[in-house]
């Protein structure tokens, strides 16, 4: 076993342990955003997809590079966007003035209340 491989394995095991330690502390409330965040992090495979380009000089290489870049970019961009979108909705208090309006004028209330809240925070 080469030194480089031992280094890689060490990094892998330590990262796994750090992951267990850090993620074990995330409250259940945030489990969906957590999974979505983890999802965007594995979008790092985009780096791997781009690196294919260094040696790709034939049709097979180009096709694999294209599909990999497409998949990975969708993963990374979509993942971060949707995580951000979700986290923006979590708030400690109901936004006071629009919330009062919402209970007064019924169904139409919640939607504008959410938009104003999002802009304010």
């Amino acid at each position: 076993m080469s030194t480089a491989l031992v280094t890689d394995l060490t990094i892998f095991v330590l990262a796994l342990l750090v992951g267990i330690e850090v993620i074990g502390k995330v409250p259940a409330t945030l489990h969906t955003p957590l999974m979505s965040a983890a999802n965007s992090i594995h979008g790092i495979v985009l780096a791997g997809a781009l690196l294919i380009g260094i040696t790709a000089h034939n049709v097979v290489g180009y096709v694999l590079a294209f599909v990999a870049a497409f998949f990975a970019a969708a993963n990374v961009v979509g993942g971060y966007m949707v995580t951000g979108r979700m986290l923006k909705m979590f708030r400690r208090k109901a936004v006071p003035p629009p919330a009062g309006a919402a209970s007064a004028n019924g169904q139409g209330g919640p939607v504008p209340a959410r938009r104003e809240g999002g802009a304010a925070s």
Partner: protein
């Protein structure tokens, strides 16, 4: 490793540190947004470093650049579009799709690495092949498995477990093919063998998820998430890239923890879910077996009186609420009650919804402040003080039968709804939950049933409370 690539690796480590820090900040809703930003920054750093490396190497052809840039741009547009358009109820599908593309990309990296190595002088290195094989297998299984899971959640494929004769034999055959081909690849460099490995793994992914019922999806999605992380880490080994190794390990850990949490909350082992136990989908059994017990149904006005004159109300939302898109209606009812000084909180079971923590996101979208959302351990002691427990579209997770031995859900952690002074259950019919058993809660003398679609029920109840209290 020359000094330039060493520097790039150091930048990758910095990016990895950002990922860890970002996940760490997710431990509180107050800092979670910053966490996501830190993580995004790490990703930008890693991608820029990679581009710098590509330019420095100078071997990327014109076609190569075009292919990479067009591919990445189209992918970004697809990701952006789906992230902005997705309904919060459809989050599990989207996460599943991201698992699919992530796993697929990881497999492609290894496949390309293998094709490269095979044409290199000296053939394929043994150690490379271990990780290559693992990456190809896990990545391919994740790709098709996640697509099937997303299809089931979206309703494109039936949520019922798909079981056909010989499925098990076929699975065993595929496993043997996968193991055999891998062993062969360790000794002989062979492209056809790699192709067989890919195809067998893709087929295995389909067959793994097809027999799993829709209600077990929180576990399946978590598991596939862990798979994707592992595949990405393996890709990192293949191309000796620390950023991929660390990020993959983090995701693998996160998926693993969530899988265990979900399986525990359903009181089922992972093996049991994969092989397919009682999870026969959202089957509806006839009313009969609750026995001779009296089922009391209640009108909107009476339910409104109970709630309007309570001092503490606990709302228990389940998947039925999300399916009926009633989360905004619930939030509105809660607001009306709170404006009367009634203490309202929400009891969230770990498997409420279709993925871990799903219900919290749905309620956050409906503008419910997160401190009101209580986890099971926290809320259970409070039921005894509650005047009314309002159960909306939740079934098995409230069934006291789980406390006794001998039922399909025995030992499953449940919400102690039966401890409340009175209970109102909003439900469309007496159909049973996915465990396929009757809910003893409904026969409890303290329980009244309000038969209606959750969205309609919320509007009626809110209107009734308003009329009552002016």
């Amino acid at each position: 490793m020359n000094s330039f690539t060493t520097n790039i690796q150091l930048v990758y480590i910095a990016a990895a540190a950002c990922f860890v820090l970002g996940l760490h900040l997710m431990n509180s809703p107050a800092t979670a947004r910053r966490g996501n930003q830190v993580s995004t920054a790490g990703m930008v750093i890693a991608v820029v470093a990679t581009l710098v490396l590509l330019i420095h190497e100078g071997t990327v052809t014109g076609v190569g650049w075009t292919v990479l840039i067009v591919g990445a741009l189209l992918g970004s547009v697809a990701g952006l579009y789906s992230a902005q358009r997705v309904q919060m109820t459809a989050m599990p599908q989207l996460v599943s799709m991201f698992n699919a593309v992530g796993g697929g990309a990881a497999a492609l990296v290894a496949i390309y690495g293998y094709i490269e190595d095979e044409s290199a002088p000296g053939g394929v290195l043994g150690t490379t092949t271990v990780f290559t094989a693992l990456d190809v297998i896990i990545g391919s299984v994740t790709f098709t498995g996640s697509l099937i899971a997303a299809g089931k959640l979206q309703g494109v494929i039936t949520g019922q477990p798909v079981i056909f004769r010989g499925a098990r034999a076929l699975n065993v055959a595929l496993a043997v093919i996968i193991a055999g081909t891998t062993a062969f690849l360790f000794t002989t460099a062979s492209l056809p063998a790699l192709l067989i490995l890919i195809l067998a793994s893709l087929a295995f992914g389909v067959l793994m998820v097809l027999p799993i019922g829709g209600a077990d999806m929180p576990v399946v999605i978590s598991l596939l998430n862990a798979f994707t992380g592992t595949a990405v880490a393996m890709a990192g080994f293949v191309i000796t890239n620390w950023a991929l190794i660390v990020a993959g390990a983090l995701v693998g850990a996160s998926g693993g923890i969530l899988t265990k949490l979900m399986a525990d909350a359903m009181n089922r082992s992972l093996t049991n879910i994969i092989i397919g136990g009682f999870g026969t989908g959202d089957s509806a059994l006839p009313v009969a077996a609750v026995g001779d017990a009296q089922i009391r149904s209640i009108a909107a006005d009476d339910a409104a009186i109970q709630m309007a004159y309570a001092s503490k109300v606990i709302i228990v939302p389940g998947y039925g609420l999300a399916a009926a898109q009633a989360q905004h209606g619930v939030a509105e009812l809660a607001q009306v009650l709170e404006s009367r000084g009634i203490e309202v909180s929400y009891a969230i079971h770990p498997v409420a919804g279709r993925m871990p923590g799903h219900m919290n996101v749905l309620l956050a979208e409906a503008n419910v402040p997160y401190p009101l959302l209580k986890e099971m351990e926290e809320i259970n002691p409070e039921f005894a003080r509650a005047d009314v427990a309002l159960v909306i579209g939740a079934n098995d997770v409230t069934n006291p039968a789980a406390r006794r031995a001998g039922s399909a859900i025995s030992g499953m952690p449940i919400l102690d709804v039966d401890q409340a002074k009175s209970i109102i259950v909003v439900k469309r019919s007496m159909a049973s939950g996915y465990a396929g058993i009757d809910n003893e809660l409904y026969a409890n003398p303290k329980t009244s049933m309000y038969f209606a679609d959750a969205k309609k029920a919320m509007a009626e109840l809110t209107a009734a409370v308003k009329t009552l209290v002016g």
